[in-house]
């Protein structure tokens, strides 16, 4: 608290807003500077990418300041259309997401310069990479700052379009172009839905400014329509199942530091949009919404993690795992909606804080893991897990930081992922307070899904770490992996330290986040830190308590005592004290070769067998002419056949029908135009 008191004179919402403005300007500057990269490739490495780090720092400072002060400031910009000026507003919710954007961007700014160096001698356009990275960040920052639907949609499109060009960065491969097109298509369908949601609200509020939308008297039915549109639109961007198909295609093909931004941050911007529209603008929450969000969240979490488990491409696996984590966030948001609709504001705030905490955590550990995957790609030019192995000895620091990311994402104490999952469970365990028996029994099922998801995440990431970093190298280029430059390590190290810090000191973080539910929901978690920073007691000390610092202290204390005691006190004799090395047990046959190790595919085989019904699996073993056997495995997403292909076919067949209008005669076209105009005029009058 003393630190806050010391800083208080410097803290104000105006300063925070100026810092946020500085972040936007710096991001634009980074984009403009990159135009010079065509002539002077070093600009990207020396100026444009480090600038992103300062963007992150400014955004982080602005966000934290807004959370500390906990007030609201808004400005009307002299930009936009004459009758539709742009509004900017910084409140606790925007501040929180600014901080999320800021912290990952900061790490990317440290990591990026060494990473983009490898592109300098390639044939890909550096101008495109730097320019669109800056614009992408500008878009994300403006989305969370926007205070009217017009600026929101402009910023949203800026974010979607610039990230399209980043996905298409390595456009010489056909599958990358296909992924980028799918992304563009789905981003725009989603954008349309969001626009319609704003349209519904604006029809009752008579303006596009959020102030008027918030006050708009929306009838319950239309509020439901607006909710559904917003959920589909933002859910598409957040990659919720079944609208996730673009995500595992698009995220892996971008350069790794951009993948970290896309998975770690852009998905959170979609969460921000959902919270802004549903919790803040619409406001009057119905319990059915909570059930829908909860169900979709469960589906995304479980399907996402099972799909991740089936992957052998590291970046694709991480992308599927983002689907799962967004599912967890939406489970917590669904719980919050259910509690709020039943007027349990404090429990709603608990689930809401759990969701926000997981947003922050996912940004940190997914950013860390994508940066780690980028370091592996940089050192070995390999994304396929089945070619990796033994990287921990070649890249010890990357291995250590990646391990922190693995433990965090697997929700293991004392890391940060555990805290948010613990809070979500605590919220779910308060379901007995609800009056409706249906809800009381639905929430336990959701928490069972969450528990199963958490356990399967651990399997997935044991697979990743065990196959990539442990054991022996499975190919020659991995055996010769290069250690990454220090800039890349520093970027990962920053995120790894934060992952641990957020797990050990949850009371401080929650004290900071608490301003968001207080502003948006009108109630916070005053209990959470009521017994000092050591004890996290979200509801009451009788209900549940967790002490991250003491758990770490005891784990470290017992572990180090055991190590020291056994190695120095107990094992006095030199023969026992030193650990000798020998060959691994070979059963008395040929010495074990790297090819005998389990692979990523074989590790997942038992789970594939248990949960196989959820996927379309084609597996065959053929014996070839020379007597060798070939194992073929193909796993496909069932949603392609169930949802996407029928839609694609319907679009194609309707296009074939419409093509009859295309006669090639200008007069016929003019006739159609006239008919349309007359039709429109008739509708308006």
């Amino acid at each position: 608290m003393s630190l806050t008191a010391l800083l208080t004179p410097a803290l104000s919402m105006d300063t925070a807003l100026h810092l946020a403005g500085l972040a936007v300007v710096l991001a634009l500057l980074s984009s403009i500077v990159s135009l010079a990269a065509r002539r002077a490739p070093w600009v990207l490495r020396r100026v444009a990418t480090p600038l992103l780090g300062f963007v992150g720092l400014a955004a982080l400072a602005a966000g934290v300041m807004a959370l500390l002060v906990g007030e609201v400031v808004s400005v009307t910009l002299p930009l936009g259309l004459p009758w539709l000026p742009w509004h900017i507003r910084l409140d606790a919710l925007s501040g929180f997401f600014l901080a999320v954007i800021g912290v990952v961007t900061c790490a990317v700014g440290i990591y990026g310069p060494s990473y983009v160096r490898s592109f300098e001698h390639g044939k890909d356009s550096l101008t495109a990479l730097g320019g669109f990275s800056g614009l992408f960040l500008t878009g994300m920052l403006l989305v969370v700052l926007a205070d009217d639907a017009f600026l929101f949609m402009v910023a949203w499109e800026l974010m979607s379009l610039s990230s399209y060009f980043l996905v298409a960065f390595h456009h010489e491969h056909a599958e990358n172009r296909r992924a980028a097109f799918l992304y563009l298509l789905m981003a725009h369908v989603g954008g349309l839905m969001i626009l319609l949601a704003y349209g519904v609200l604006a029809a009752f509020g008579d303006s596009f400014a959020f102030v008027d939308l918030r006050a708009a008297p929306v009838p319950a039915v239309w509020a439901g329509v607006a909710f559904a549109l917003a959920f589909v639109g933002f859910g598409m961007k957040a990659g919720l199942v079944p609208l996730h198909a673009w995500l595992p295609e698009a995220h892996p093909v971008a350069p790794s530091h951009i993948s970290a931004l896309m998975s770690g941050v852009m998905l959170k911007v979609a969460v921000y949009g959902f919270i802004r529209v549903c919790f803040d603008l619409i406001g009057q929450i119905q319990w059915q919404w909570g059930v829908v969000v909860l169900a979709i969240g469960c589906l995304s979490a479980l399907f996402g993690v099972l799909s991740a488990l089936m992957q052998t491409d590291l970046k694709r696996l991480l992308a599927y795992s983002s689907v799962e984590n967004l599912g967890i966030i939406f489970i917590a948001l669904g719980l919050s909606l259910v509690f709020l609709s039943a007027d349990f504001t404090e429990l709603g705030a608990l689930a809401f804080v759990a969701a926000l905490y997981h947003c922050l955590n996912h940004a940190l550990f997914k950013g860390l893991l994508f940066l780690g995957a980028g370091a592996i790609l940089h050192g070995t030019h390999e994304r396929d897990l089945d070619q990796m192995g033994g990287l921990l000895r070649r890249m010890p620091w990357t291995g250590l930081f990646f391990l922190v990311g693995v433990l965090s994402i697997s929700a293991l104490p004392p890391f940060n992922g555990f805290v948010s999952e613990w809070l979500t469970f605590q919220a779910a365990l308060q379901a007995w307070q609800l009056d409706s028996g249906v809800l009381r029994s639905l929430i336990p099922i959701a928490s069972a899904v969450l528990a199963l998801t958490g356990a399967l995440v651990a399997v997935t990431f044991v697979k990743v770490y065990g196959i990539a970093f442990l054991g022996q190298a499975r190919s020659r280029h991995v055996r010769r992996a290069r250690r990454g430059p220090w800039g890349m390590l520093a970027g990962q190290g920053l995120l790894a330290v934060l992952c641990l810090a957020l797990g050990v000191l949850p009371t401080w973080v929650i004290g900071l986040i608490d301003a968001v539910p207080r502003q948006v929901l009108g109630d916070g978690l005053p209990q959470a830190g009521a017994y000092g920073w050591l004890w996290l007691t979200p509801v009451s000390p009788q209900t549940a308590s967790y002490s991250g610092p003491l758990v770490v202290l005891m784990l470290a204390g017992i572990g180090l005592t055991a190590f020291w005691g056994l190695n120095h006190l107990w094992a006095k004799g030199a023969a026992v004290r030193w650990v000798h090395r020998g060959d691994a047990w070979d059963c008395g046959f040929a010495p074990p070769s790297p090819r005998m190790q389990y692979t990523a595919t074989s590790f997942a085989q038992p789970i594939r067998r248990v949960f196989g019904l959820l996927f379309q699996i084609e597996e065959s073993v053929t014996i070839q002419e020379d007597g060798s056997t070939r194992h073929r495995l193909r796993i496909r997403d069932r949603f392609w056949g169930l949802l996407y292909l029928p839609i694609a076919r319907a679009v194609e067949s309707s296009a074939r029908r419409v093509v009859r209008l295309q006669s090639g005669n200008v007069r016929v076209y003019l006739g159609w135009t006239l008919a349309t105009l007359v039709g429109l005029l008739w509708i308006i009058t």
Binding site: P413, F425, P444, L452, G466, A544, L566, V579, P592
Partner: protein
């Protein structure tokens, strides 16, 4: 924080944690003894597990050329995490500070931490056995963990608390009430305990046959003090699950104050209860055969179903009433 964060509370908590480490091999010795008698053998002495541990600790530790530093750190992490998890389960008395540091969700998390490092250590050797053991262990763990969480959530929802001490207190103050949800949760938790501690019919702790081993396959490359720690951690885990079952579902006898009499009574009660539980487990292990690996998911799905039924019967039948 509660009124139990006192000096004597911390002292008793430390004593109880040490007692866990000290008693864990004895439970295994007793289990082996009963099993041997059921098979008409005399069986080794009750103290044999202690002798085994001493022998391993006195031996030289060898590690394979192919391993990384993680392999040598893993035994300490596995042992510490399992011990820490055990320390949060009330053994002799309730209302100790360790229960406030970590509740049942943290307990499950710490066990998961131990499992993850065990599996990583298995994969670190770079032989087929380690990977096989890790893959199977993670499959069993992934299916057992949700069942375990659902079972403890049933208790937590009844007591409106995830603090194990409060759960036991609540159960004690309720007196003997037959709750359907508790019966389901007990069934689920017993199945989970069998799977998680690697007992028959899911895994066989004495096997060294490649095709059947799970836990042993991951430990194949360990020797000396590393192996001792891993074995000790496995014994601690068995004691932890045993104590969890007997003290939560049959809490009678557990001390509710910090007086020596309460402690002595608590110790006598928990030793008696554990001896009975281990005898039941030994009978089960004698009459059952080990299942094929791919029958284990059905076994664990049953555990999940039972635990979920427990939770649902609680929220549907017992909350409203």
């Amino acid at each position: 924080m509660g009124n139990f964060l006192t000096g004597s509370g911390w002292g008793i908590a430390a004593l109880q944690s040490l007692l866990y480490v000290a008693l864990a091999p004895l439970l295994v010795g007793w289990l082996r003894k009963v099993k041997a008698r059921l098979q008409n053998r005399r069986g080794p002495s009750l103290l044999q597990p202690y002798r085994d541990l001493y022998k391993l600790l006195a031996k030289e530790a060898r590690v394979a050329h192919t391993t990384s530093p993680l392999f040598r750190a893993a035994p300490y992490i596995v042992f510490t995490a399992t011990w820490m998890a055990a320390a949060t389960v009330p053994l002799l008395v309730v209302d100790l500070p360790t229960a406030a540091i970590a509740d049942i969700i943290v307990l499950v998390g710490l066990l998961a931490l131990a499992r993850v490092f065990l599996a990583l250590a298995g994969m670190d050797v770079g032989t087929a056995f380690g990977g096989m053991g890790a893959s199977r262990e993670m499959l069993i763990g992934a299916l057992a963990e949700p069942a375990m969480l659902m079972a403890v959530f049933t208790l937590a929802m009844t007591a409106h608390s995830t603090n194990l001490s409060s759960v036991i207190d609540h159960h004690l103050s309720d007196g003997f009430v037959l709750r359907p949800s508790y019966l389901f949760a007990l069934g689920g938790l017993v199945l989970v305990a069998i799977a998680e501690t690697g007992r028959i019919p899911v895994d066989n702790p004495t096997t060294h046959l490649e095709l059947t081993m799970v836990h042993e396959a991951m430990l194949l490359e360990y020797s000396g003090r590393h192996l001792a720690l891993m074995e000790w951690a496995a014994q601690l885990k068995l004691l932890l699950y045993g104590t969890l079952i007997v003290n939560v579902f049959f809490p009678w006898g557990i001390g509710q104050g910090l007086s020596p009499a309460a402690l002595g009574l608590g110790l006598a009660a928990v030793v008696g209860k554990l001896a009975v539980l281990a005898a039941v487990l030994a009978v089960g292990e004698t009459v059952l055969a080990k299942m094929r690996l791919f029958r284990a998911p059905a076994f664990l799905n049953l555990a999940l179903l039972l635990s979920l039924l427990g939770l649902l019967s609680h929220v549907i039948l017992e909350v409203g009433a």
